[in-house]
């Protein structure tokens, strides 16, 4: 059982750090975050590459008909937005994890790290829900035969 002084109460509004207050990460914490940050940088580069491929795929637009071109443009723009957002949050995670890994003691780095984790996983979660809804509606139309009703 942990002593009360060992714990920071999340509910306590007075317990919130100032952005410049010191944090207390151990050497192993800093090492773990450095490794995580390195992989986040790699993933950010992959997202940027994917973004560039999406831009390159727009070269097919002149060969498509009006409706097809509109849909391709729309989905490419959505893809660009998603890839850009994901890459941005990976970079934020990388920067804060790198700062903590190098020995930063400011609470703002830990706060940036936590906000990037929240934003990244919330984005992944929302995208997954949207994808699942699309997939299930497609299944409903093709397998169950909703297209005969509507």
């Amino acid at each position: 059982m942990l002593e009360p002084e060992d714990q920071y109460s999340v509910q306590n509004p007075g317990g919130f750090y100032d952005a410049n207050e010191p944090t207390n990460f151990t050497a192993s914490n800093r090492s773990d975050l450095s490794t995580a940050g390195g992989w986040a940088l790699f993933l950010a580069i992959l997202s940027i590459l994917s973004l560039l491929f999406s831009v390159a795929s727009l070269s097919v637009l002149p060969r498509l008909s009006g409706e097809e071109a509109l849909f391709t443009l729309l989905f490419t723009l959505i893809g660009l937005g998603i890839n850009g957002a994901v890459a941005y949050w990976y970079f934020v995670f990388y920067n804060s994890a790198r700062a903590i890994g190098l020995g930063s003691e400011q609470a703002k780095d830990a706060q940036r790290l936590s906000s990037s984790v929240l934003a990244t996983f919330r984005l992944f979660g929302i995208l997954t829900v949207i994808f699942l809804l699309f997939y299930l509606s497609a299944l409903a139309f093709t397998v169950v035969g909703l297209n005969r009703i509507f």
Binding site: E5, Y8, Y17, N24, R30, T35, A40, F121, G125
Partner: protein
């Protein structure tokens, strides 16, 4: 210039690296992380089931050769990746969810940092493997 004052594990026995504001953000993220972890487990299970059915009912059509081996290997990597990533996501979800009880402490900070390393490392490694498989498929002109 960043100041360096890295504590030994023993020195910071009672203190947390994350402040309550960060903790509240981790708690908010824990729900989504939990959802993604469970989804990865479910998809891994469905893929395994599909793979088993394909092997059992499609065994007579398997002719052997490089392509079959490649697809078999690809499926194994996908299934293993889903389960391993699901496990890492659940580790992070459990570590962040535990912040609801008793706030942040040294042990939970260690768990979160270790789980973050696990999640990003497995994510990066499996992205690397999938890129390598894609390059191999392009090199050997394998059609799916």
């Amino acid at each position: 210039m960043l100041e360096t004052n890295i504590l030994d594990d023993g020195q910071a026995s009672a203190q947390s690296g994350f402040d309550p504001l960060s903790a509240s953000r981790f708690i908010k993220a824990s729900g989504w992380i939990n959802f993604l972890g469970i989804l990865l487990y479910v998809l891994g299970g469905l893929f395994s089931l599909g793979f088993l059915i394909a092997i059992v009912f499609g065994a007579s059509n398997i002719r052997g050769g490089g392509e079959v081996f490649f697809v078999f290997f690809l499926f194994m990597v996908i299934i293993a990746g889903m389960f391993i990533m699901g496990n890492q996501f659940m580790r992070l979800a459990n570590a962040t969810k535990s912040l609801r009880i008793g706030g942040v402490n040294r042990v939970k900070t260690d768990q979160i940092c270790s789980a973050l390393k696990g999640v990003f490392t497995t994510f990066g490694v499996f992205s690397l493997i999938s890129i390598m498989m894609l390059v191999l498929a392009l090199l050997f002109n394998i059609n799916f």
